[in-house]
Symmetry: C2
Subunit: 158 residues, 2 copies
DNA sequence: ACTATTTCGTCAACCACGTTGACTACCTTA
DNA sequence: TAAGGTAGTCAACGTGGTTGACGAAATAGT
């Protein structure tokens, strides 16, 4: 029992999840850099997806990403500085500033999605489609993504 | 095809892995705080595991965690400050400083392992043991944990 | 035995990403 | 029109990383 426990301790589970995530992100990042997006940092793809093709505001972006509006604002600052996002005044509400993607940002997001699809395809080749589906279904069942909501409208995957 | 793609885009995979990781870590953290370890930050459990019961040095800790020795040193600083680690001169090599766990650190590590085991048990209840085993096996197969080596000696899981 | 090289820890500067609290400007509602 | 809520920003801070430089100590090579 001790040996069975030590062979598969609970510590492994979080580490493997983290390793899986980082493997994907590192591969994405390397490929993005190769495709002309070296500025894009690991989380920026998710930020772009959360901004969406319809744009959003800093406060709402923060809610979508599960972070404070200040943190969202700072992230937007960086992505504006490197040319992925635009921030313009909302003509209908002088308090709000609309955050929209530049063409460069749209290109980065599109490429991110393509690369992620290709990486998922690699997993399917290695594990078989049922196992990858099962992995996603199981994670969907047990992982509580309270801290982000990327079920945003405007995502152009379909 | 567009609808099938958008129903299960590659973007979901990394997000689900991250959500799974963060779910575990958040639950661990909440439970650790309840058990008298509110100081322990999310990654500290892994740091303690990487230190191991036999202790190590800052440089080796960095190698085990896949971070620089400077970053490892700073993390050790914080864990020394809150009483989880000790740093003492190595009598056999005046350059080295041995990093060892205090009793409080050992307690935190032991509790972390127990809580992780219990959380894994919850996943088993929700998904069935085969699915959790499959999830771990699959991640082990496709995730490349180049950036950490927690296959360290001295871990007292067994 | 002495020099040259490597290794260990640390310092300093910096960056990314997050937090909370305070504040202004602006809508909205009573 | 006065009161209250909301959007964005500033400032200070914490955490977890990075690189580069450097002194002190060990080790290797004459």
């Amino acid at each position: 029992m001790a040996s069975a426990d030590s062979a598969r301790p609970g510590f492994q589970l979080p580490l493997l999840l983290l390793a899986g995530f980082r493997t994907l992100i590192d591969d994405l990042h390397a490929e993005l850099a190769r495709q002309g997006h070296p500025e894009l940092r690991p989380l920026h793809g998710f930020v772009l997806q959360a901004v969406g093709v319809d744009g959003t505001t800093a406060t709402e972006l923060g809610q979508r990403l599960g972070i404070s509006k200040q943190a969202a604002g700072k992230t937007v600052d960086r992505l504006v500085a490197v040319g992925y996002l635009d921030r313009v005044d909302d003509p209908r509400d002088a308090r709000r500033k609309l955050i929209t993607m530049t063409p460069h940002g749209v290109d980065g997001l599109r490429r991110s999605a393509e690369i992620f699809d290709r990486l998922r395809e690699r997993w399917v080749e290695a594990l078989g489609p049922e196992r990858v589906d099962a992995l996603e279904d199981d994670l969907r069942a047990v992982a509580a993504p309270n801290w982000f909501r990327l079920d945003v409208p405007g995502w152009f995957g379909g």
